[in-house]
Amino acid sequence: MLRARIVLGLYIVFLLLPIYWLVNMSLKTNTEIVSSLTLWPHKLTFDNYTKIFTDPSWYSGYLNSLKYVALNTVLSIALALPAAYAFSRFRFVGDKHLFFWLLSNRMAPPAVFALPFFNLYSAIGLFDTPLAVALAHCLFNVPLAVWILEGFMSGVPREIDETAYLDGYSFPRFFVKIFTPLVASGIGVTAFFCFMFSWVELLLARTLTSVDAKPIAATMTRTVSAAGMDWGLLAAAGVLTILPGALVIWFVRNYIAKGFALGRV
């Protein structure tokens, strides 16, 4: 028991120390950062945060990111719901192959798709719009959503479907009125994971945007300037990108393993 506490304690310290250091840096002035190593901010300042919240070129990065992430989450779930139902309830020609093909797209390296996506979205005039990034992220988020939702839906007994049909429900009415509420927690978990995987991805988001839809992750590279690195500002921007995940994590804590394992735990 004691050994377990020590292992866990050390691991948690290892997890939190780099995050603490980022928070620490974000609350310091740049003079303090470069002059000496201090374990906590001796001269506490919120200037870095104030700058981000007042400078449009900074906060628009967050808004752009939130736009395509929200769009992607809605798209992924809306498309995945009927498909996940089909996979969980029926057999049809090519179902296994299709299911595998979806998985292979979840695993596809974004680096392979960066250049063709750039060409594709430039050609159809979507380059530098949140929609382009939202659609691009569907590459891995739609398969993810199908797999997770299928996992949840398979947990709902099929007798419920049959009873509803006997009661005279049509398929769309059954799906919306009865089935969707039953898998509501699954939809919530899926939404969280779509949100998250879209939020943490940078390569495609950066490749598909230049000015108008620039995500926060790309804005952060701006802190390198002629005057050297603005470490405090960079750290503050980093802390603010951790917050959305940290705020909702409490609600999904029991499903984290399930979501990462594509609903297979």
Binding site: P109, L202, R253, I256, V265
Partner: protein, 294 residues
């Protein structure tokens, strides 16, 4: 577990099929198209057949040497992080508190690194490991160990492996914990009555229960480390020299940096085929295990 056969289900799958085809097949066709052509600029392309592929798979050529170097480097990286993350993840999962509010609190703390944008993970370690302003780099240098991840390849590797362990060990731990939770208390009580040692409990009760989740963890970690891009790109940019240039980083350099479309496209296809093969193993193992469970 017999599902009814219903070809009408295709209609329900159709929207997903269309969007994924649009995002996957159309771009991949472009890549295939590029991979068999050469260009002198001005948008003039001419047929090159399998030339790029021959060059890519020939380790003595420039392109091939570069590809195989990045590939071995990437495989070494995947092997290292698996060798550390799996045992550490199991140890952490076994150390989880049994019940009460501490379980919830620990779960939240463990999951924290998983939700941080990948470039910010890079930024965190870029700062944390610096010798002048980072706690880790500063302390290690004060201990008299020379450590500088921008100049010394070994330091760069240590930084990137540590970063990945920091980033993803929690995933292994959370999956293992999910497996452990499915063990009924009666098993432990029986083991206690039999006077089983801690090791015997682990070997005969806990490990078999974690078998399935461990496989998922290993394969997920392998896939994600095999296509790692953002985190090492932010920290080292692939350097010093080429010492931390993994396949994805090399590919982006080739495609978006040098605009060497034919070479980049051939590399993309080979890369994708490797991923597809591993993915197929993953799927086969997983469906077989699902079948066993039912």
């Amino acid at each position: 577990m017999d599902k009814p056969i219903n070809q009408g289900a295709w209609l329900l799958v159709l929207p997903v099929l269309l969007i994924v085809a649009f995002s996957a097949i159309v771009p991949l066709m472009t890549v295939v198209n590029y991979s068999v052509q050469d260009t002198f600029g001005n948008n003039q392309f001419f047929w090159n057949g399998i030339g790029w592929y021959q060059e890519l798979l020939d380790p003595t050529s420039d392109l091939g040497g570069r590809f195989f170097d990045a590939l071995w480097r990437n495989l070494l990286f995947s092997f290292l992080i698996l060798a550390i993350e799996v045992p550490l993840g199991i140890a952490v999962a076994l150390s989880m508190p049994r019940d009460g509010w501490r379980v919830a609190a620990t779960l939240v703390v463990l999951a924290l690194p998983l939700l941080i944008p990948w470039n910010v993970v890079g930024t965190i370690w870029q700062i944390f490991a610096r010798e002048d302003i980072g706690l880790l780099g500063w302390v290690v240098n004060r201990l008299g160990i020379p450590y500088n991840y921008t100049a010394d390849p070994l330091s760069a590797w240590v930084t990137i492996v540590t970063m990945d362990v920091w980033h993803w060990t929690s995933l292994v731990a959370l999956l293992c914990y999910a497996g452990l939770r499915s063990i009924p208390d009666a098993f432990y009580q029986a083991a206690r009555i039999d006077g089983a040692s801690q090791w015997a409990i682990f070997r005969n009760i806990q490990l078999p229960k974690m078998h399935r989740v461990l496989l998922i963890a290993v394969l997920l970690r392998f896939m994600d480390s095999f296509m790692i891009y953002t985190e090492p790109f932010v920290v080292t940019g692939g350097g010093p020299g080429n010492s931390t240039t993994f396949v994805s980083i090399d590919l982006v350099k080739l495609a978006l940096g040098q605009f060497d479309l034919g070479k980049a496209a051939a590399l993309s296809i080979v890369y994708n085929l490797i991923i597809l093969a591993v993915c197929w193993v993953f799927y086969t193992v997983m469906t077989r295990m699902d079948a066993q469970r039912n």
